[in-house]
């Protein structure tokens, strides 16, 4: 009996202990489990915001399309065959093509697969009325880019989620098959464009029968992004860049005797007054419409792994870094002026080379030649820029090297003040910072990657030759086309360095606030540069570059240009590129660069053109820049500066007591135009622009 008593105590003790464990120690875990047990959340994807240019032209939009999906998980092979045969008959699409949809590796293996898209209402109805099990015909939204490849690198594209995005975004209410922004503005502004998915919270029982609706939040549509781009100008810039590259490919290089490869290039147009990017072209390019549904491997390889169109996905205007060559010379000039080493009007005799004076104790390379070893004769600073005298800037750079004091790094300081060596802050992903070399940078590079930067195992000291190379934009200097345009814009507008804006504003599309900007990108001033006295001579030198009388380096490209109507200041650059051409296995040809602003004396737009392996800046890049500037001028005429609208002065209106409202005796006490007072005809109506209450037609008729 005692034994049974002990058993009793033991059993009840065990039950109570376990209850304590479940209901006290582990209760939180089970509370959460009970919560998730009974609630189902149905997600309705929002419509994605559009991308517009600065005048409202749509660059990315959504269209409704009929799609047919197949849930193949329930099929056996004979059934699948019959279903496909029937679908092929209904839609007039070969079975093979339908079956391709099943091979889609980008979605979950058990998820319904899209086998046909682009159906109209008839097609959808034809499929739907058969009600084939596992087959669904429905409307879906598809992203389209109506401008095709125009602005592709800015707009970016949407595509299936990557593995990482899948993990991160599913928690934010994305559906597994949703397309997400993968590049450009589509990628960077994914959160704004996507909107808030609708969530319907249902309480369900064991059989998934809906007991009641706990919450129903409708989807909030994504916001529109308004770019600062003008589509027509953008299309023109892209087309001129491409044409310029094609023209360069028909030119024989004097160095190698081969045609220039001229595969890649970039061009940027920036408003110098506020930093708006009006156009940004990168070649080679692509059509973002290809990316929405994805490309097959063969298609992808033929487009994006084509050695003759390398890196089509890269926006070279912000991701490409190049030696600037002679377009860097104004920086050296300003640095020399800043350090007091240049008298702007002092004559310098260019003999075709510069030799480091013996007194400075030169070791190694001591003589530096002009391009083509040409002796340009007697020049001042202005002429040195106009004719791109290397020797003049060799001397400035060498003099700066031997200065003992902070001015030793004047070139580097001026370059950084103009925005090189730092991101411009444009609203585009993966922007490169470029490089402005000094002693520390050289040392770091040599240590970091000796085989790339120091193949001959030289001492990592900063030599006079390094400073001289830097002074003419060679050596380790690397800049992006956007940095070049922005630096020249800063020089043009008198020293205000903006962070370029490619996005003007983010506009709401929600019902209550439709069309109101949610976020506006005002001009962002990054820095104000104090230019030294004599900078006017630098600008004068640049203004003569297109002048044939003064033998400017771009004079030939600007032959017949309307210099009086729309004068251009600019600078050519022909930069030696390091390394080998990856396809042709021979030394890279020179990079052609041209940076300019226009009009010269009332600067409004800065233009940068960089064409890789395309030859001389004056011969390859300057003609492209000329056509771009002419397109900018046409753009200005197409969209004249907005006039400030006339706003009639508003009277100060008093509070009118309710009892007196509408009382004719009281009308005279309320100022004209106020509520409950005398109502005047509204000013600025179409029939009465001056607002004097007399229709304009009569005035015109009576007056003239």
């Amino acid at each position: 009996m005692a034994f049974i008593g002990i058993v009793m105590i033991g059993l009840f003790g065990a039950l109570f202990t376990r209850l304590w464990y479940l209901q006290v120690l582990e209760t939180e875990q089970f509370t959460v489990a009970a919560e998730s047990n009974q609630v189902r959340i149905i997600i309705t994807p929002p419509t994605r915001g559009r991308i517009l240019d600065r005048h409202g032209v749509v660059l990315a939009d959504n269209v409704r399309t009929g799609v047919v999906t197949i849930d193949q998980s329930s099929y056996t092979e004979p059934v699948a065959e019959a279903v496909f045969a029937e679908l092929a008959d209904l839609l007039d699409i070969p079975v093979v093509q339908l079956r391709q949809g099943l091979d889609d590796q980008r979605t979950h293996p058990l998820a319904p697969k899209v086998v046909a898209t682009g159906l109209d209402e008839d097609g959808l109805l034809r499929v739907a009325e058969r009600s084939i099990p596992g087959v669904e015909a429905k409307w879906d939204w598809v992203r389209v880019y109506p401008q095709n490849e125009v602005g592709a690198h800015i707009v970016g594209y949407v595509g299936a989620m990557s593995e990482r995005q899948h993990r991160e975004l599913i928690d934010d209410g994305y559906l597994p098959y949703e397309r997400v922004g993968r590049a450009g503005i589509e990628g960077l502004f994914e959160a704004e464009l996507h909107g808030e998915p609708g969530r319907t919270k249902l309480e369900v029982d064991r059989q998934d029968r809906v007991q009641r609706i706990l919450a129903d939040v409708p989807p909030q549509p994504g916001q529109d992004i308004v770019l600062s781009i003008d589509v027509e100008l953008q299309a023109a810039v892209e087309s001129y860049l491409r044409q310029g590259l094609i023209a360069a490919r028909k030119t024989v290089s004097e160095d190698s005797g081969f045609f220039y490869p001229a595969l890649t290039g970039a061009a940027v147009v920036v408003d110098v007054r506020n930093g708006d990017v009006l156009a940004m072209a990168s070649h080679p390019t692509y059509d973002p419409n290809w990316m929405v549904e994805g490309l097959s491997l063969a298609e992808y390889q033929s487009v994006f792994e084509n050695p003759y169109a390398p890196g089509a996905l890269n926006n070279l205007a912000v991701q490409g870094t190049y030696s600037p060559g002679s377009v860097f010379k104004p920086v050296t000039a300003l640095a020399g002026l800043e350090a007091g080493l240049i008298s702007p009007r002092a004559a310098y005799h260019d003999v075709g080379y510069y030799r480091i004076p013996e007194a400075r104790g030169c070791t190694g390379r001591c003589t530096f030649f002009n391009a083509d070893r040409a002796a340009l004769g007697t020049l001042d600073l202005s002429g040195a820029l106009t004719r791109s005298s290397d020797a003049y800037f060799y001397k400035v750079s060498d003099d700066l090297y031997w200065v003992d004091g902070p001015e030793q790094w004047a070139i580097q300081d001026m370059a950084r003040a103009l925005g090189f060596d730092s991101p411009t802050g444009v609203q585009l992903p993966f922007e490169k910072t470029g490089r402005v070399p000094d002693g520390d940078v050289k040392k770091t590079l040599f240590e970091l990657s000796p085989e790339a930067y120091n193949p001959y195992n030289e001492p990592p000291r900063w030599f006079p030759g390094d400073n001289i190379n830097t002074g003419i934009g060679q050596g380790l200097v690397a800049v992006t086309p956007l940095q070049l345009a922005n630096a020249y814009a800063t020089l043009a507008n008198g020293g205000t360095r903006f962070s370029p804006n490619v996005v003007e504003e983010v506009v709401s599309r929600e019902a209550e606030t439709f069309g109101e900007p949610v976020l506006t990108f005002e001009p962002r001033v990054l820095d104000t540069v104090e230019f030294p006295a004599g900078s006017a001579v630098v600008r004068e030198g640049l203004s003569n570059v297109t002048n044939s009388r003064l033998r400017g380096t771009a004079a030939k490209a600007f032959e017949g240009y309307d210099h009086a109507g729309y004068p251009v200041s600019g600078k050519t650059g022909t930069a030696q590129a390091q390394g080998l051409n990856a396809v042709l296995r021979r030394k890279k040809e020179d990079t052609a660069v041209f940076v300019a602003w226009a009009p010269t004396h009332d600067p409004r737009y800065a233009v940068a053109v960089v064409m890789e392996e395309a030859g001389y800046g004056g011969e390859a890049a300057a003609p492209v820049a000329r056509r771009i500037i002419e397109a900018v001028r046409a753009y200005e005429q197409r969209w004249p500066e907005p006039q400030i609208a006339f706003v009639p002065p508003q009277p100060e209106c008093p509070e009118v007591p309710e009892a007196l409202r509408g009382d004719p005796a009281f009308l005279g006490y309320v100022p004209e135009g106020c509520p409950w007072g005398v109502q005047l005809p509204r000013a600025n109506t179409p029939s009465d622009a001056d607002g004097d209450g007399i229709p304009d037609v009569d005035q015109i008729g009576g007056g003239s």
Partner: protein
């Protein structure tokens, strides 16, 4: 003073009415549990009944009627002298064997088992195996009482035969849970009756071996000795990660329900697991989950205290019973109650495998409720006649 009073009662106790010695608190505890059971029957079914457009009281009202009948049966069993049961034990045993055998031939299959007769007049179903438990306890007590003190192996063997026949019939239904109740009852009773520990050990070993054999024959794709459900349930208990089957779904859902209850519970009719019908069979075998979710640790502990009180009182009655038959009756009923409570609550909280054993006095069902009340009545009868001549 008190000693004198006690002394006086002792001198006259044989002459007093058994009603004087009856344990009313035991009856009250049983009735309290049954009332809690009716409340939990309502909580477990009102939502789905009203969702289907029915009367939410349907199930609870039936259970209340069963409890009413059960209380009457308990009173009758308490009033009647338990010793007369000895004379009815043999015919009762034969009748119940007949009923169990008839089940296999004529009973409709409900939920994969032939355990129920449907009474034509009342629309009630009758589960003979519930009554069989009590009848076997009485028969075994009557048989073994003659040999109390020292059980020889052949007596033990005969007692075993007495058990094995109804067990086999119940196994064929199949109803593994009820069969296990017989094992527990037999163990308790035979131990108290004076069976040798080594004999019990041998029998236990044989039983375990038989079970292992059954299970492994099954695993080796031999003849199906266990039904699919039984095998899954056992596997789910042994391997908690054994996921996608119904058995571990039940276990998981009932643990969620009880765990979510916390200390104070979510309140009567407020349990989400219960209301949304997420725990299967919740008014039957899983009734404890409704209590655990809606009244929490407090409610669960209260129920355990009531059951513990009942078992303690029955244990005391077994100790003071006037004859071996009464003691064995009480011990058998104690074993039945204890095993069913432990097994049923244990399976809902994951310390026992899932078997279809109802929680006495709580679970919905006429046969089980009436049997439980009858058993309590018999125990009260034993206790009330502890001084009987």
């Amino acid at each position: 003073m008190i000693a004198r009073l006690l002394n006086r009662t002792q001198t006259r106790r044989e002459l007093r009415s058994p009603a004087w010695f009856a344990d009313y608190s035991l009856a009250l505890a049983a009735i309290a549990i049954a009332c809690l059971g009716v409340a939990m029957n309502y909580a477990a079914t009102w939502r789905s009944l009203s969702f289907e457009g029915g009367d939410p009281w349907t199930v609870a009202r039936r259970q209340a009627i069963f409890v009413g009948i059960g209380i009457v049966v308990m009173v009758v069993a308490a009033v009647v002298d338990y010793r007369v049961l000895r004379f009815y034990s043999t015919p009762a045993y034969l009748i119940i064997l007949g009923a169990l055998a008839a089940l296999l031939r004529w009973a409709p299959e409900i939920r994969n088992a032939r355990s129920w007769f449907t009474l034509p007049f009342f629309g009630f179903q009758v589960q003979p195996s519930e009554f069989a438990k009590l009848v076997v306890i009485v028969s075994l007590a009557a048989f073994v009482a003659n040999h109390e003190g020292y059980l020889r192996f052949d007596t033990l063997f005969n007692a075993g035969l007495l058990l094995v026949v109804p067990m086999a019939l119940i196994y064929l239904q199949p109803d593994l849970g009820t069969m296990l109740v017989f094992v527990a009852v037999a163990m308790g009773m035979l131990l108290v009756a004076g069976a040798q520990l080594r004999h019990i050990f041998v029998i236990t070993l044989a039983g375990v071996l038989a079970l292992v054999l059954v299970f492994s024959i099954d695993a080796l794709q031999g003849p199906r000795l266990l039904s699919e459900t039984q095998r899954n349930r056992l596997t789910a208990f042994l391997d908690q990660e054994f996921e996608p089957l119904e058995a571990s779904y039940n276990l998981r859902q009932s643990q969620i329900a009880i765990g979510a209850g916390g200390i104070w519970g979510q309140g009567w009719k407020q349990g989400t697991q219960t209301n949304l019908d997420l725990v299967p069979e919740q008014h039957n075998d899983f009734i404890f989950t409704a209590l655990g979710e809606e009244f929490g640790l407090v409610g669960g502990a209260l129920l355990l205290v009531l059951y513990a009180y009942m078992t303690v009182r029955i244990w005391q009655i077994a100790r003071v019973a006037s004859d071996p038959f009464g003691r064995l009756l009480a011990v058998g009923i104690l074993s039945m109650l204890l095993f069913q409570v432990f097994q049923n609550i244990g399976m809902t909280i994951g310390i026992m495998p899932i078997t279809g054993i109802p929680l006495p006095l709580m679970s919905h069902g006429g046969s089980g409720t009436i049997t439980a009340f009858a058993a309590v009545g018999i125990v009260i009868s034993v206790g009330a006649r502890r001084y009987a001549l």
